[in-house]
Amino acid sequence: MARPVNPHAMTPSRPGRTRTAPPQAPSGWYTQPRMLKYLLFDATGIVYLLVGFVALRVVWALGSGDAAWAELLRQLQNPLYIAFHVLALVSVVFVAVRFFSLFPKSQPAHIGPAKPPPQPLILAGLYAAWIGVTLVVTAVLAGWVL
């Protein structure tokens, strides 16, 4: 059997004459691939929270002198840290691909007289911008430029 959802979901402002059973969630919703994918998408928020903590730790180490910085670099080579960052990368790619696939259709039909470009072109533009920004950031971090 299904589990109940919020008991007030889709209830009218005034109760009807007939007693009703509370609204139910779909049975086995957590086993359905689409729902699982959405749950995974939501769960990436936890990964980003942890990435935020790591970033704070990096900033703290930067302000605490050479020894603290060297110690942080040593800790970041720990396989657990590396695994976490691989997970963060996978999460970012997953969310970006999902966002890119949904973004084109959410464009308004027109802004004033101007119409947005065709959806495949928007999608291609998003991927081009993503690759471009990634290349620029990689080039800066690797010391190829600046």
């Binding site: 299904a2 139910q24 779909p26 039909a109």
Partner: protein
């Protein structure tokens, strides 16, 4: 045609007798060309006349036969029974109070739908002698897709926000409000955009896209909701440079 038997596990609820919904199992001899609704009608006609379910047109137009089939929202007159296994679970639409068996309470939806003013609003009615409102095919194209909604409520059953935020007016109501906002004959965009900027409307949508995945008419309510977000913001910003003052 060859006959095959399938087991149907159907949710039952009698408000006069049952404290909570329960399940009842039926063995049904099915035909290969049957839709899910055909099996329910067979149960009602041949096995158990006390089963209650809604249906009418049998051609995916009236939107009354929406139910959960194997945990997924389905328009039962459209979905072929052959797409399901030997055991099929049929339940009332998720996220709606259950009136009886497979019949759900729709009054909550009708209230939400009414709140977005899903009809053409004009500042001043056009006089008869001025003739009809003309609309070009390009203007029609801007909202045509959103006007295909048959209010089957599958999108509400699929939406995770509807399940958790009772005040959310939901995909179909927003899609219909947006449909009229995009209609060149309508002059109520600002009025509706103010509603869309309120609590429990377009900005409650987390863009799960489930509504569009299950929509049997390919209305794409998720696109409508997210286009409406953009339009609501532009309308708010426009208010600062017009006499409305950001309203």
């Amino acid at each position: 045609m060859s006959e095959q038997k399938k087991t149907f596990v159907v949710t039952r609820f009698d408000p006069d007798k049952d404290q909570a919904p329960r399940q009842q199992t039926y063995e049904v001899p099915v035909q290969p060309d049957w839709k899910v609704l055909d099996a329910l009608n067979y149960i009602k006609d041949e096995i158990d006349g006390s089963l209650s379910h809604r249906w009418s047109c049998r051609m995916a137009v009236c939107g009354s036969c929406g139910m959960m089939v194997d945990g997924k929202p389905s328009l039962t007159c459209k979905d072929a029974l052959s797409d399901y296994g030997d055991k099929v679970e049929i339940a009332p639409l998720a996220n709606f109070p259950i009136v009886r068996d497979l019949v759900v309470e729709l009054e909550g939806f009708l209230e939400k739908l009414k709140s977005v003013k899903p009809y053409i609003l004009r500042a001043k009615e056009r006089a008869l002698e001025e003739g009809t409102h003309r609309q070009s095919p390009e203007q029609l194209e801007e909202f045509k897709q959103f006007s295909y909604c048959i209010n089957c409520m599958l999108c509400y059953s699929a939406c995770p926000v509807v399940a958790n935020e009772p005040e959310f007016i939901g995909p179909a109501a927003i899609a219909l409000g947006h449909r009229y906002n995009m209609d060149s004959r309508d002059e109520g965009q600002h009025e509706r955009n103010e509603i869309f900027r309120g609590e429990g409307t377009v900005f409650s949508c987390s863009y799960a896209n489930e509504c569009s995945e299950v929509c049997p008419k390919h209305v794409d309510p998720a696109a409508a909701v997210n286009q409406a977000k953009f339009n609501a913001v532009i309308d708010w910003l426009t208010g600062f440079v017009t006499t409305r003052g950001g309203k």
